[in-house]
């Protein structure tokens, strides 16, 4: 019986150490992070996410975007993310301090999205790649997220959000393809992905 009690405590203690190191430590440390103030401009960074973008983060989760897209930039010596122009500096814990859901991701079948809102600023580009990825390039392997859009009859003026489609993707005349509320939220989220402000702990790569 003694032996089993000792075993019981051993099992708890050894696992408890990893719990302290990998759960309790980051929990307590990252809760104490504060915004950084740029000395030249006085700007605070990072900024919290606008409401629509936060809703969009849930659409991002629901459709499993993070199974193919990552959201972090490695230091130059750990990988060529900066060479690929996915960012100008590595990302650090402070970058994610306001994120309700952190989607670091472990796969890059798709491009890294840490700074996709810097690279692409036009909502139309996002609508098109989500609705008909193959209309941008026939080689793109991304699924088409048709359920984030609806094809509807044009009532009066065409919608400002209506997709500018070409070729086989054009809807019948008198109809337009517009993003649903979910689609709009997702694109608002993607547009908000910008980690291009300076942080003292992550200086820009010098090249």
């Amino acid at each position: 019986m003694n032996r089993l009690t000792g075993l019981f405590f051993g099992i708890f203690l050894l696992f408890g150490v990893s719990w302290l190191g990998l759960v309790a430590y980051p929990y307590l440390t990252f809760a104490g992070l504060r915004q950084s103030k740029d000395e030249a401009t006085g700007a605070l960074a990072p900024q919290g996410m606008p409401g629509t973008a936060a809703q969009g983060a849930r659409v991002y989760a629901a459709n499993g975007c993070f199974y193919c897209h990552s959201q972090y930039i490695r230091e130059e010596k750990e990988g060529n993310d900066i060479g690929r122009q996915w960012g100008t500096r590595r990302t650090v814990a402070r970058d994610y301090m306001y994120d309700q859901n952190v989607f670091l991701g472990t796969s890059r079948l798709g491009a890294d999205l840490t700074n996709v809102g810097v690279r692409q600023t036009d909502p139309q580009w996002f609508y098109r790649i989500l609705y008909s990825p193959r209309s941008l390039s026939s080689e793109v392997a991304m699924p088409a997220y048709k359920w984030l859009f609806q094809t509807r009859e044009i009532q009066g003026q065409p919608s400002v959000d209506a997709l500018k489609l070409e070729g086989a993707y054009v809807p019948p005349s008198g109809y337009e393809v517009v993003p649903t509320a979910e689609g709009k939220a997702l694109v608002a989220y993607l547009l908000s992905l910008k980690k291009n402000y300076p942080l003292p702990e992550a200086p820009e790569a010098t090249e």
């Binding site: 089993l4 075993l7 019981f8 051993g10 099992i11 708890f12 050894l14 696992f15 150490v17 990893s18 719990w19 190191g21 990998l22 759960v23 980051p26 929990y27 440390t29 990252f30 992070l33 983060a57 991002y60 989760a61 629901a62 459709n63 499993g64 975007c65 993070f66 199974y67 490695r74 230091e75 750990e78 990988g79 060529n80 122009q85 590595r90 650090v92 814990a93 970058d95 994610y96 301090m97 306001y98 994120d99 952190v102 991701g105 472990t106 796969s107 890059r108 079948l109 798709g110 990825p133 193959r134 390039s137 080689e139 793109v140 991304m142 699924p143 088409a144 997220y145 048709k146 359920w147």
Partner: protein, 498 residues
């Protein structure tokens, strides 16, 4: 051939003192174990279909049979559905069933109510069903391996706690005497799993962890799930079945102990290797890399112990299906751990991280190491629970060879394809689209391998349905049992940890 499937080791004593007829124990525990096994097989089939679907979608996103435009069957939902059906449906149900069967056998006592684990099994299935439907409808947490919404997770956790408590009670009221290494692993597994699962949902959903702490907790959980739930369950099974079937005590108790404490010490630390270069303090990631390499100590301890127990006598592999699956799984365990520790090195991860290579390693662990050992366990246990024989050995052969072929084909395709992808991603001159173009043939092979695995799993499911519904009870079992008793007296096994 049929004879060898059931007659062997019917009464194999778990410890020196244990020479009783254990068919009574099997009868008492039959209902909950069979519910867990039935659920495991059900979720295995569902999970396999989602696996085939999601791997087809990677390869051909617009073909009609991959359901383009159907939200709830899209890749971003089919893939986590596959993962969760496999991990929490098949692997965990089979693990719990095997675990409570093993504990009951060691215990040798039948008075504990089997109602408790039966209710737990039903709860587990309710949690699974609501969880998978939530994923398909888009109500997911967005965290890998923790996709189920908190409501489903709560039901699962409740079921898990019931099983774990039941296991503890069984263990504490066991027949006095020494304990065997399998009991250690099982005690650890049931405590660790409940702990890590509760922590993950508590820290990620109920008192949400701040920013970058989320992925740290998520991958601490994922690493622990593999190394401190699946691994100890599989090792407990192998440590019981291999000596049992070859009728020889385990080679070294000391090695077994070394392996256990090594696992307990390093197992909780391995997860951050998925986040090399990520936004975490460097020491956390370094600690994981070191742990991943040190994990080779318990791995080699187990491998040496199994190998020396078999003593180069591998002839039983062709005759005994259960042994064949278990030994194959044990071999793959070594390969899996070696590859895992190589991939965790920073200089290698630079090229393999974010590619298909880590996926190939996960498959080696889940489809190879763990699933093969648990398939072996089911092939061994089910006939003993039902007192029936497996029908159609061709089906079992098909299962084995297709599973092995599919696994290695998939492994080769994902590894080679992933390496090409990795070198492509490292060169900014090559556009992403071109990198993915290079992957196409490898994804096609992987898709074919997925089909082989599905057929393998279906053969297993058919075998399981047949033994449950059609196979007739064995009539002359008692004589087989008596014959074995005589045999075992002359070669008394000593498989206890003193």
């Amino acid at each position: 051939m049929k004879e060898t499937v059931i007659s062997e080791a019917e009464l194999r004593p778990a410890s020196r003192a244990d020479h009783r007829d254990l068919s009574g124990v099997d009868r008492a525990i039959r209902v909950p174990v069979l519910i867990f096994f039935g659920s495991a097989v059900f979720w295995l089939v569902i999970g396999s279909l989602f696996y085939l679907l999601s791997s087809s979608q990677l390869f051909s996103p617009d073909v009609w049979w991959t359901f383009p435009g159907v939200a709830w069957l899209s890749f971003g939902r089919a893939y986590p559905a596959f993962l969760n059906c496999y991990v929490y449906g098949w692997a965990t149900c089979a693990g719990i069933g095997t675990g409570i069967w093993l504990l009951s056998r060691f215990n040798g006592v039948t008075f504990r109510s089997p109602l408790f684990p039966s209710v737990a099994a039903v709860l587990w299935n309710i949690g699974m069903l609501t969880g998978v439907l939530s994923i398909l409808s888009g109500a997911t947490t967005g965290r890998e391996l923790l996709e189920f919404p908190p409501q489903s997770a709560f039901i699962l956790f409740f079921g898990l706690i019931m099983v774990s408590l039941w296991a503890l009670v069984i263990l504490w009221n066991r027949t006095p005497g020494s304990t065997y290494i399998s009991q250690w692993y099982l005690l650890g597994a049931f405590l660790w799993f409940a702990w890590m699962y509760a922590t993950a949902y508590l820290v990620l959903d109920i008192v949400p962890a701040p920013g970058a702490a989320q992925p740290a907790v998520n991958w601490w959980y994922a690493g622990s799930l593999v190394d401190l739930w699946f691994t100890p369950i599989a090792l407990a099974t192998a440590y019981y079945l291999i000596p049992q079937i070859v009728r020889r005590p385990i080679y070294s108790d000391k090695l077994a102990l070394l392996g256990f404490w090594g696992l307990a010490l390093f197992g909780g630390w391995t997860g951050m290797t998925h986040l090399i270069g990520g936004p975490l303090p460097a020491w956390m990631i370094t600690a994981s890399i070191v742990a991943k390499v040190l994990m080779l100590v318990p791995v080699l301890a187990a491998a040496a112990n199994f190998h020396l127990t078999m003593k180069g006598d591998f002839s039983g592999l062709s005759e005994n299906f259960a042994l064949r699956f278990v030994v194959t799984g044990a071999f793959i365990y070594t390969a899996y751990a070696f590859e895992g520790s190589i991939l965790s090195a920073r200089s290698i991860a630079q090229f393999t991280q974010f590619t298909l290579v880590p996926e190939s390693n996960s498959q080696l662990g889940l489809f190879g190491f763990y699933s093969m050992i648990l398939f072996g366990a089911l092939y061994y246990i089910v006939p003993r629970l039902l007192n029936r024989l497996w029908l159609f050995h061709k089906l079992i052969e098909t299962h084995f060879w297709l599973a092995v072929t599919g696994l290695w084909l998939s492994f080769a395709a994902l590894t080679i394809g992933g390496l090409i992808q990795g070198f492509g991603l490292e060169d900014p001159q090559i556009p992403m689209i071109a990198v993915n173009d290079l992957l196409e043939p490898f994804l096609a092979i992987q898709n074919f391998a997925a089909l082989l695995l599905v057929v393998a799993n279906l053969s297993f499911a058919i075998s399981f349905a047949l033994i449950l519904l059609i196979s007739a009870p064995v009539r002359h079992r008692r004589t087989a049992v008596e014959r074995f008793k005589e045999a075992s007296e002359s070669t008394e096994p000593e498989v206890s940890v003193a």
